[in-house]
Symmetry: C2
Subunit: 378 residues, 2 copies
């Protein structure tokens, strides 16, 4: 039996006066509830997904933007025909995006590799690599372009990319689509895991698109995919390139990463003076063939429970509660992009960062004759 969420557990059991203080310590300055419109609520109820909305703390001079995050289970069985699986996911996301539109969301982001099961655990190439699509003109990108135009939203669509122009190799890529429907560009996953069942390095390499930031009508956004959230320098470079919101579309399971989940994206928001959006898929995905996990345990057919818990963190240290650990959901966060500059002016982490010094010592540390600066007793 999975716990619904940490937040629901606290809300249920801790008395009001202590709850307020516990939440301040856990979540920082309070996020107020954002009213769910009747229409949006109806869509969510009919299609059976959670919808939650929050207004994050504001500056005195707000520049408001509404962010939407989608977390969802796969819809069809993993052995259904690929086109059925993809179409079912398109339809599911279209439903949730409709609710986002009814909540006036400006920028919407889906989970990592959202058109497919997270099948990289199997190490099987077939049929999974057939889920790969062109970032520029694949079916999923076309679907997202229509969605973007229809709802006047920027859409961040993380897919398995096949780069036909460069040998047809695969990448783990987020496509960024303007609210006009134009493809603004793409951002590839910079750091690839080799841990647990995350056998992604069997399929694709470390990204070569750097740390691009996309100027949209609703702020400057970057995309740090999944395992990149463990890498502070990766987060930092999006900030150096001017990001105000960095999305972290992910796919990760409980036993391995859950205690880190609430820490890393939030730490990045604080350290880099921008908003971060951590998105995780939800549910358990079963495969036809068994596989082992390099942990001495017997072969099995699923990756474990993807625990959802998607959230938004602000540069001021506040964060929203997480979505459910078990259900599909839409999280809507009204954020104030002016918070990025105001908190930078207040806390001054960028001003005090001493990047010149670190660029030098970091370079030195990569040279073959580098010796660590260790002091020994004489």
């Amino acid at each position: 039996m999975e716990l619904e969420s940490l937040e629901s557990c606290l809300n249920k059991h801790v008395p009001a006066d202590e709850l307020k203080e516990a939440k301040r310590i856990l979540y920082g300055p309070e996020c107020k509830p954002l009213e769910i419109t009747e229409d949006a609520g109806n869509v969510a109820a009919a299609a059976d997904f959670e919808i939650a909305g929050f207004e994050m703390p504001l500056t005195s001079n707000p520049r408001k933007v509404k962010i939407g995050l989608i977390q969802n289970r796969i819809v069809e069985s993993t052995n259904a025909p690929i086109s059925n699986q993809v179409t079912a996911l398109h339809n599911r996301v279209a439903e949730i995006a409709k609710a986002a539109s009814l909540m006036d969301v400006n920028v919407l982001c889906m989970q990592e590799a959202w058109t497919m099961p997270f099948a990289f655990c199997t190490r099987e190439k077939t049929p999974w690599t057939d889920f790969a699509e062109s970032a520029e003109n694949g079916l999923t990108t076309k679907f997202c372009q229509e969605l973007a135009q229809k709802h006047n939203m920027v859409i961040v669509s993380p897919i398995l990319e096949r780069d036909e122009e460069h040998g047809g190799v695969l990448w783990n890529t987020a496509v960024v689509i303007s609210n006009t429907g134009n493809v603004l560009g793409k951002s590839r996953k910079n750091h690839i895991p080799r841990v647990g069942d995350f056998n992604e390095s069997t399929y694709y390499m470390e990204g070569n698109t750097g740390h691009k930031v996309f100027q949209t009508s609703f702020g400057r956004i970057g995309v740090n995919i999944c395992y990149g959230r463990h890498h502070p320098l990766n987060w930092m470079m999006y900030g150096i390139n001017g990001a105000e919101i960095v999305f972290n579309p992910s796919a990760t399971v409980g036993a391995l990463s859950e205690p880190m989940w609430s820490i890393e994206a939030r730490c990045a928001a604080i350290a880099n003076h921008y908003y971060t959006c951590a998105i995780n898929r939800v549910g358990t995905e079963s495969f036809s063939n068994e596989f082992t996990s390099g942990d001495g345990k017997p072969a099995h057919k699923d990756f474990g429970h993807f625990y959802g818990s998607s959230y938004v963190a602000s540069p001021d240290g506040s964060r929203t509660p997480g979505l459910s650990r078990t259900r599909d959901g839409l999280l809507v966060a009204s954020v104030d992009l002016n918070m990025c500059q105001q908190i930078s002016d207040k806390w001054g982490f960028r001003m005090t960062a001493r990047h010149e010094m670190y660029a030098k010592v970091l370079k030195k540390s990569t040279e073959p004759d580098f010796k660590r600066d260790i002091v020994y007793e004489k």
Copy 2:
């Protein structure tokens, strides 16, 4: 009325089955209680301080070390003669260190500027700069050398340093003393805040000792003082130099930083595959003369409540509960230094870090003609 601690609040109200799961999500793999010896418990009871002990998760091939963290209030009033204030703090720390010794602590660390009130909020030079001492042969270093020999402990002693050999300027410095009683060296605070009442930049500059790591009989240790915990590159360089434990002696108050407190040092432990020890002083310190805080509010005579909550975080994502938010305390954590390498081998953040790329782009970003990599719609 200050909440005693988040942990005591959860323990009191959340039913056992949900509490276990809530703690897993919040704190990661379980830290087991470490038995408090009768003698140590008696010392703590008689001297009225909290004593808490935890055994953090172990590898299959443990290399165990016991870390002790001390958090404490000042003892004398801030307008008592300086030597009285210092002596009273020496005596207080000697009491707590005795309990640490009875718990077989190997490495003990005190809070930032532990021999004085955190008077930098006042912006007054007199009398506060008279608390400064030589790192190599000041009274406090002598005191710590005796303590180290007596108890066979490594001691990390963060003080206000006066560097007589270089113009008598001040530094915020941690002195590292071997269990033999020898001064191993010193490590200066690398990043100086300019936020809220943290007017430290009035007194001393950014440190010039780099990111030295000290090889002790009980592991390789580094010291990242206070505001340096907001800087991921600062944490990273201690890791690159081989640290297995990084102490973060601090002085910080609730309204400003408390929601970040449980995030940053823990994120650093995860990202850098080493143990981190976050130490905060406790209580409220009042000064004779009023001062303002640059926030439009009336002048006042204290800095706010230092919220204690000292804790240890492991590279495996686990952490101990925090010490009290209101009482003096000793936290003893039995850690397994082999966890650093094992978790690095498992998670591979160092292997996948792409430091060569980041050294290049970070350098570029500091050049005068740097242009951010921003994609605009055509």
